[in-house]
Assembly symmetry: C2
């Protein structure tokens, strides 16, 4: 059993083993270098991507300003799901912050799985879509109501190692605050813990 | 054929007619009065709801402040999908701004449909989850990057009648601006059109 099969079997443990092996086998391994782009504005997102090891940053450019949308690290799926579902052009950039080993599943292969009769892939797709919705719902709620400290806590609570892997100036940019303000937030949180 | 069957057949035209009739028949009609709550913080969202006629406002309360999240009108689905999927307590309020005629599908009935063998309900659920994701992805992008004018345009472009049905002070509150600022935005947009 290879790494991706093992990970997916744990991740989708509610599904029959042979379906998950089939799902895992539909992915292809690829390697990207730090600074490479998985996706750039104007392209079509052809693949659903699972990061085995690595670190990617998603952002938009608007009127010359960059808006960082998300960081994705080991064992996370990443894609512009809108562009993927509709095979429409994206306005998103996905850039590697480290060398990455990824597994990709093309739109055509994903749909071929969906179309297999009497298989649980539509259910798997439903549950993945529900999970992705959930992330964006939480994100949208946070953007609506939370201040920078709360957004910082939400960012690192889920992935405490993130602040060791993503440069502080990018985390500050994600939060829409100056790097000095992020230092103050981190200091006040450390003091609170003591 | 009743109203809800006809609407769903148009809405889900890619699916077999008899499956959609079965889906529509799983819904129950209910009536709510202006000021009634479909959902309040601490409750569990038991139903997926389709609004036949009506107007509802979703919001959160945090530290005594209200954050309006969305307005939903005729022919739209509304739910706290997170609370619905996980049958967990919600932190959302959904309040009727007008008398409403709604169709509800309970969590149990939805799952009974998903579990029917060789039926397209998982695919239907996947496509609904993808649509809901899409809305929240757009919303989150807009909260990240757009100013009040752009958010106003996105709100009314999709539903031009919304500004006739939702009081201006609530639209201003949704945008996080003073009612006078909304008047200025509307005036400048009218002038631009001329």
């Amino acid at each position: 059993m290879n790494a991706i099969q093992e990970i997916f079997l744990k991740m989708f443990s509610r599904f029959p083993e042979e379906a998950i092996i089939q799902f895992a086998n539909a992915f292809s391994e690829k390697k990207l270098k730090k600074g490479d782009f998985l996706l750039q504005e104007g392209q079509i997102c052809r693949d659903l991507v699972f990061i085995l090891n690595g670190n990617m940053m998603c952002y938009y450019l608007k009127d010359g300003k960059r808006y960082i949308d998300e960081f994705s690290l080991d064992y996370e799926f990443i894609t512009d799901y809108t562009s993927f579902i509709y095979q429409s052009t994206t306005d998103k950039y996905i850039e590697c912050l480290e060398d990455c080993v990824i597994y990709t599943l093309s739109y055509e292969r994903m749909n071929a799985l969906y179309d297999l009769p009497h298989q649980p892939f539509d259910r798997l797709g439903r549950m993945m879509a529900e999970q992705i919705y959930l992330q964006w719902h939480e994100k949208s709620k946070s953007l609506l109501m939370d201040d920078a400290t709360e957004r910082y806590l939400k960012l690192i609570n889920k992935r405490p190692y993130l602040s060791q892997r993503v440069p502080q100036y990018l985390i500050a940019e994600y939060l829409g605050i100056a790097p000095e303000s992020l230092s103050r937030i981190r200091k006040s949180l450390t003091n609170t813990k003591v």
